[in-house]
Assembly symmetry: C2
Homo-oligomer: 237 residues x 2
């Protein structure tokens, strides 16, 4: 009765499409950005009647000729114009009834975007940034997906240098702390935060100062080269 995954090629071909290929696979993206001391997520108006007026995550069906992990990059590029983005797989959601139109299992990814650097191509799409804290409800099970991704992001920022993907190349320690506070949604002690970050040894002192401020400027730092995400172009070389 139980069909094994260990199938001979011929056997696999005999399996009825209606029985076993009647599940669609999608990816959904929790695209985080940071602006005005707030953590934001990029959402789109759902065009399903069942969820009219509600927002949902960006997503798409996985194509038969692309790697699962390539799909979210394609979605990002085609829907927002953004390339060279930090992405991480989080979890796969597959309840029977999670999609009203049929059986769709979705793999969730989170992305981190520097809003100021990557210009959104919002022209054609109804894409909007929403403060994470203001989001009460989303279409499908997307609120659950958002929460899962947010938890994963929170648990990673002290372990790995990922938060920097939300920021510009040069930043002060105050700005960095504000990003951490926005992600964790708590206030941090300035002196202890600096000590903790110093221990990680992620930062490069750029010997530059902030400017155009109405108070004492701070030093500017950058992420050390060895921790920077390789862009797809660099990887191709």
């Amino acid at each position: 009765m139980t069909k094994s995954l260990q199938l001979k090629t011929a056997e696999l071909e005999k399996i009825s499409h209606l029985d076993y290929f009647n599940i669609a696979l999608s990816v959904d993206l929790v695209i985080f950005g940071y602006e005005n001391k707030e953590l934001k997520v990029l959402l789109i108006k759902s065009d399903l009647e069942e969820f009219s007026g509600m927002y949902s995550l960006l997503g798409d069906l996985v194509r038969p000729d692309e790697d699962l992990d390539s799909a979210p990059y394609r979605v990002l590029l085609s829907r927002t114009g953004m390339d060279d983005v930090f992405l991480e797989q989080v979890h796969t959601f597959g309840s029977i009834a999670r999609h009203p139109s049929g059986r769709v299992i979705t793999t969730a990814y989170y992305a981190l975007i520097d809003i100021r650097h990557h210009q959104l191509q919002v022209d054609t799409n109804e894409l909007h940034w929403h403060a994470v804290n203001d989001i009460k409800k989303l279409a499908f099970d997307h609120k659950l997906i958002l929460n899962t991704c947010l938890e994963q992001l929170r648990s990673q920022i002290m372990e790995k240098p990922v938060a920097f993907n939300l920021m510009q190349d040069k930043f002060s320690l105050r700005e960095l702390q504000e990003v951490y506070e926005a992600i964790l949604d708590i206030k941090l002690d300035r002196r202890n935060f600096r000590k903790k970050i110093a221990v990680k040894d992620w930062l490069q002192d750029l010997n530059e100062m902030e400017s155009n401020l109405s108070h004492r400027p701070g030093k500017l730092y950058g992420l050390k080269k060895q921790f920077k995400r390789k862009s797809s172009k660099e990887l191709a070389i």
Copy 2:
């Protein structure tokens, strides 16, 4: 060009099955057990010609009428007779070429089994326990899947009381330490290990002693009730 996931119901139905439903979804299980101071994994001989003689993980295609997270429970029950098992989703693997017979995306789970308590029904199947450390090669990308699950298991045993799923109900601190050493593949200091475990407050002193040993017996402990996995029967009440 890019098809959105936000589709009207009618629209979804128009999508050609050949285009978008030509991906099969499976689950694969990394079933860990513990015996003779070794961490083991339950494997089955692959019956694919491409992988003749090689071992692979237990897995199966997800059925259209079952939740994704239910599939691994069904596989475990039908293939091994084991019920009431600790399972956790780890990652979804979806490279185009990962399965020689076609496009199969698989979600990996790891399971923890008390080998002595759950009796294997090995009669019909060619199932065997293999020491994790002896496994060099597996069919498909199953070695990668095994490594990913092992890493996740290792990172969780100090955080959550999961290792106890590999053990009998009553155990000495020495036995517990041996399980941790087998999982982490390192030697631990007895005194420091006990201190760390004591802080977690996971254990219940059973006021019983080991017996039938040729040396001083140790106290027996059990996992505190509030940390025990609810069996499916209890959950149904």
